[in-house]
């Protein structure tokens, strides 16, 4: 596995070691091991219900693996941590809070001084092009704008790892492409480690440094691909051959993982 990932990975920031997860006698995940380097954009690609979200929730510390270990910077994950943030499939903004107050929610919860983070929150909103809606309520924004706000919320505490659980799957195709580009732009500036769960081949190929293809239950890592597209990535790249080549390879790997 290591030979594939090139020299960007010195010491892995996140290590998933032989993790297995069983829900009431149903094995959801069987023996998954993943190393993620600091600053890497990694996608977990697979069909719905293949356990990739479960894996993400274990990394987030919301559930514990049945067997195996997850460590970040060498320390095991035993619960939610301030240096990990999650973006969910739905924006899950609090409807009674303004966009700015929603973005500052994680700051408030840790009892950090709001003043110190207000500028950062506004900067993030500006980067996500929704600064003018800071004082609006969530229901006044479109689905895409709300999801951008939820990404800002995840970044406000400056976490080192960003976990994204099919964050764009509820958006229409055009908005999806746009918000993907925006995400990469924000990622380029902040350089977080991103673990991105998706069932879209196109999305995985466009965003990632590396893609892990996961098979159906009980799921394991079926294949691993490095995406050698130059950065910054642009929407026209999706029409070109290198991108199509990666997409085809990913599709083949998914089909192969279904075969057995």
């Amino acid at each position: 596995m290591d030979s594939l990932t090139g020299q960007t990975r010195a010491v892995p920031l996140l290590q998933v070691r032989n993790v297995r997860k069983v829900f009431q006698q149903t094995e959801a995940i069987r023996d998954v091991s993943i190393d993620v380097a600091d600053g890497e954009f990694l996608s977990l690609l697979g069909p719905s219900g293949c356990g990739k979200s479960t894996l993400l929730m274990m990394i987030a510390g919301l559930t514990r693996p049945t067997e195996g270990a997850i460590t970040i910077g060498g320390t095991p994950v035993v619960g939610p941590r301030p240096d990990i943030a999650v973006v969910f499939q739905q924006p899950v903004l609090l409807p009674w809070r303004t966009i700015l107050d929603n973005v500052l929610f994680p700051v408030e919860v840790l009892r950090l001084p709001r003043k110190d983070y207000e500028d950062r929150a506004m900067e993030l909103l500006a980067m996500a092009k929704i600064a003018e809606f800071a004082k609006h309520l969530p229901h006044q924004l479109s689905g895409g704008m709300r999801q951008r706000a939820s990404i800002c919320r995840a970044l406000v505490r400056d976490p080192s790892i960003l976990l994204m659980d099919e964050p764009f799957s509820a958006l229409d195709a055009i908005t999806r492409d746009e918000i993907g580009v925006e995400l990469l732009r924000i990622w380029q500036v902040n350089r977080k480690t991103v673990i991105f769960v998706t069932h879209s081949i196109r999305e995985a190929a466009f965003l990632s440094d590396r893609v892990l293809v996961m098979g159906r239950r009980p799921s394991t890592v079926a294949a691993e691909f490095k995406i050698n597209l130059p950065r910054p990535r642009t929407i026209p790249m999706m029409e070109e051959e290198p991108f199509n080549h990666h997409s085809r390879e990913l599709r083949k790997a998914i089909e192969a993982s279904h075969a057995h």
Partner: protein
């Protein structure tokens, strides 16, 4: 903006027009058919009685309203308190909640005479009956509000390391507000019913007593005047709660999306 105002005006205009038309029809029919006032007084006669006998009506209205409001406040405070217990204690949720829900079936008004036996004919009985019938819907609504959090929101709060206390104050309470106001609207109407019924059964004052007294004297105009005064007061109390709701639940007023 302008269309919104016209829309609001037409929201008020049509029900008002219908009400006025019905009152006019009533007035005309009573006059044309020479219906005796003891059977059905005309709206104009009721209005005149309300003005002429306002001292008597108000004297009996205040104690009833006072009991209603105290009973309502006790029901709301008690209901919210019990709802919190139900939300956080599994034993109570499994044991007490079903009992509360099933007890809804009991027509609690029927217990009024029993209360007179236990607590006498005074204010205590009125208050207890008001609380007894207003408390349960409040409790059930509040319990629903506290427990109806979107599981995604709960997960979100946990990943950002919110404590249980923070989840309660920052999420459960605001999330429950629409349910709490829904419960309050039911409770205020029920509290009025509780007070009036206990005044029917045994009391020397209150608007329920006045209605019964006027009935005994075959003074139908006074009866109708008292009923009208009571209805208007009930409407005002309900309106106050609706108004408070509009300010407190500001994010729901223009709800155009579910999530």
């Amino acid at each position: 903006m302008l269309t919104k105002i016209t829309e609001k005006l037409s929201d008020i205009f049509w029900p008002t027009l219908i009400t006025v038309l019905l009152l006019a029809l009533w007035e005309i029919l009573v006059r044309v058919l020479h219906v005796r006032s003891i059977l059905l007084p005309a709206p104009s006669e009721i209005a005149i009685t309300m003005v002429r006998q306002q001292d008597q009506i108000l004297r009996h209205l205040w104690p009833s309203l006072y009991m209603t409001i105290v009973g309502f406040v006790l029901s709301v405070v008690g209901g919210v308190f019990v709802a919190i217990l139900i939300t956080y204690s599994e034993v109570l949720r499994k044991g007490l909640y079903p009992v509360i829900v099933v007890s809804q079936v009991i027509p609690k008004i029927a217990i009024a005479p029993l209360f007179i036996v236990w607590f006498g004919t005074g204010a205590t009985s009125s208050l207890l009956l008001a609380v007894l019938i207003a408390f349960f819907p409040m409790t059930i609504n509040a319990a629903m509000g506290f427990s109806s959090i979107d599981p995604d929101i709960h997960r979100m709060a946990r990943t950002f390391m919110a404590s249980d206390w923070q989840v309660f104050w920052k999420i459960r309470i605001p999330n429950a507000l629409p349910y709490l106001f829904g419960g309050m609207k039911i409770s205020i109407t029920l509290a009025i019913i509780g007070v009036i019924v206990s005044e029917f059964v045994a009391s020397q004052e209150g608007i329920g007593y006045l209605i019964k007294l006027a009935g005994g004297l075959l003074d139908t105009p006074l009866m109708m005047a008292a009923i009208t005064a009571l209805s208007l007061s009930g409407l005002a109390l309900y309106g106050l709660i609706s108004l408070a709701e509009r300010y407190a639940v500001f994010w729901n007023s223009t709800r155009d999306d579910v999530k």
